[in-house]
Every structure is written in C-alpha cells, then in structure tokens.
C-alpha cells in the first residue's frame, strides 16, 4: 500500500514538473527523487527476484524443481517426438481418406459400371444377319458377315476412301463386324442392308456405308465407329 501510494504521488510530481522545465532536467530530477524515496522506504514485500538494495539477492532464482520432470531428458524428448509423430500419422491418414473420398466420388458408380459392358451370345445370330443392341444408350450393329462379304470388304482398295482404313483394322474376327450405329454425320441411326454398297444407309442425309462400315458416299466424314469389344470365348461377345 505504502509503495503504491508513494510511487503514484511521485509520478504525479514528475508529470507536473515536466511542464515548466526541459524534459531532460525533469527526468534527471525524477530519477534522483525516486532513488531517495526507494532508499527511505521500508516494505514488508519480498520480491521473488530480489531487490536492488541487497546485492547478493539479485541472483536469487526461484525454485522450479517442483515443476521439473523426474524422467530422463531422453525419455521426455522421445515423448515429444512421439506426440508430434502421432499427429503426423493421424493427419496423413485423414488426408489420404479425404483425397480418396473425393476421387471415389468422381469415379463411375456401380450401376453405371454394370451397364458399361454388354455380353451377347453369338450362336443366335445366323450368317448374313444384322443384330442391333443397345449399349450405353447407343445402338450397336453386329453383323455376321458371309464369306462373300468378307472378301468384298478385304479386297476393296481402301486407300482412295474419304476415311481410309483397311478392313482388318475394323474387325477382330473377319466374320463379326461390330460398330456403333450412329452416323458420323449428324448422329442418325443408319439402316442396315441398304444403300449402294450393300452395307448401311443413313436416311437423314444419304450417307452410304459399305459392308465394313466405311463411308463411301454422302456427307458423313468418318467411318462408323468401332467400340472396344472382345470375344471371351467362341460363342460370346463382350462390348465395352
């Protein structure tokens, strides 16, 4: 109490004195007064850091041994590193799960994947017949070609076509021609076994495709597209 009142009155005096005199002189006088007042005061308060009056007590250090660890420094260090490593582990797992969830969300769902492939039994398709099936919302033409048609498709001089492509690039087995039934012009569905070349004919704008599905006449720029397909065994075909 005595200290606080003494210092506050001292401050007040200092502040008043600063007004008339120059600042340097005021500070000097304040310091002088302060030293005098501190020397004269007698307080029961004991600072844990000692006071300037007793020289030996300036080195007085509070006792922190109550807070110090009883374990070895190495085990404390290992504990800190373990906690930091556990945080890293947990965040690595969390980051991986987050990224994976986003990627799985973007990939195709099970119902889409189930529709992505279509299996067809080939034994039901007689030679010289077309079959149209639906695959991914698009028609797919499957033609069981006769030997004459295969010969015609293979012997034709394809180099002069608008979209030059040999017949063996368009079929895996020569007797089975598998194509997307979408006209490459504007997306109509061509009619089978029609047109000037015995293949397909698009009624919308008059594109003629031959028995290999190549564009021969009309506005279409490209041959009929061949999807990915495979023959798992002799009598079945999987598209997709």
């Amino acid at each position: 109490m005595s200290l606080s009142s003494a210092s506050s009155s001292l401050l007040r005096v200092c502040a008043r004195q600063q007004l008339p005199t120059t600042s340097r002189a005021a500070v000097a006088s304040c310091q002088q007064r302060r030293g005098v007042s501190e020397a004269s005061k007698s307080s029961s308060f004991q600072s844990p850091f000692g006071s300037s009056e007793e020289y030996s007590s300036t080195l007085k250090i509070p006792n922190f041994s109550k807070y110090s660890s009883k374990k070895s420094p190495r085990s404390n260090q290992v504990f800190s590193y373990f906690m930091a490593g556990s945080l890293g582990l947990a965040s690595a797992v969390g980051a991986k799960a987050t990224v994976q969830d986003f990627l799985v969300n973007m990939s195709a769902s099970a119902d889409v994947l189930a529709q992505a492939k279509v299996e067809i039994g080939l034994a039901a398709i007689p030679e010289g017949k077309n079959v149209i099936i639906k695959w991914r919302g698009k028609p797919v033409f499957i033609r069981h070609r006769t030997a004459d048609e295969i010969k015609e498709a293979e012997d034709f001089d394809w180099k002069g076509l608008r979209d030059p492509q040999p017949d063996q690039d368009r079929v895996q087995k020569a007797e089975w021609l598998v194509m997307l039934g979408v006209c490459t012009h504007l997306g109509c569905v061509p009619i089978g076994e029609a047109g000037d070349y015995g293949g397909w004919f698009c009624p919308c704008h008059g594109s003629h495709y031959d028995i290999s599905g190549r564009i021969r006449k009309g506005p279409a720029p490209l041959n009929l597209e061949v999807p990915q397909y495979s023959f798992p065994d002799e009598d079945s075909l999987v598209i997709g």
């Binding site: 374990k71 070895s72 190495r74 085990s75 260090q77 290992v78 590193y81 373990f82 490593g85 890293g88 582990l89 690595a92 797992v93 991986k96 799960a97």
Partner: protein, 68 residues
C-alpha cells in the same frame, strides 16, 4: 529401464529424420488397415443378421432350386 527403452527408440527411429518420417508413413498405413478392419467388424457386429451377406444364402439357395 525406461531410459534404455527411450534411448533405443530415439536411436532407432527418431535420430534420422528420414527414418522418422518413413516410420510415420508406415505407421499411418498400418493404422489405416487396422482402423478400417476394426470399424468394419464393429459395423458388422452391430448389424448382424441384417445385411445382404448375412441373408444371401436364404435367397440364393431358392434361386438355384428354381433353376433346377
């Protein structure tokens, strides 16, 4: 005893940062596997008898009989 274990861990895993990081990622992998397996087990235990894999045999047997 505790000091020797701590110093062994320190010397083995923490001293080299590359080893420390590698062990963290390996631990993350193992933890993820264990966590996923464990949580799936808990889920299956809570929903025992209600999932398709629990009741599948009742229906699949019938279907086979129909086929025959």
């Amino acid at each position: 005893m505790a000091g020797t274990i701590a110093s062994a861990i320190y010397q083995g895993l923490i001293r080299r940062n590359a080893v420390y990081l590698t062990s963290i990622f390996a631990g993350a992998f193992a933890f993820e596997l264990a966590f996923d397996t464990g949580s799936n087990k808990v889920w299956d235990a809570i929903n025992r008898g209600r999932q398709w894999k629990d009741i599948k045999h009742q229906y699949m047997v019938k279907e086979e009989e129909d086929d025959e």
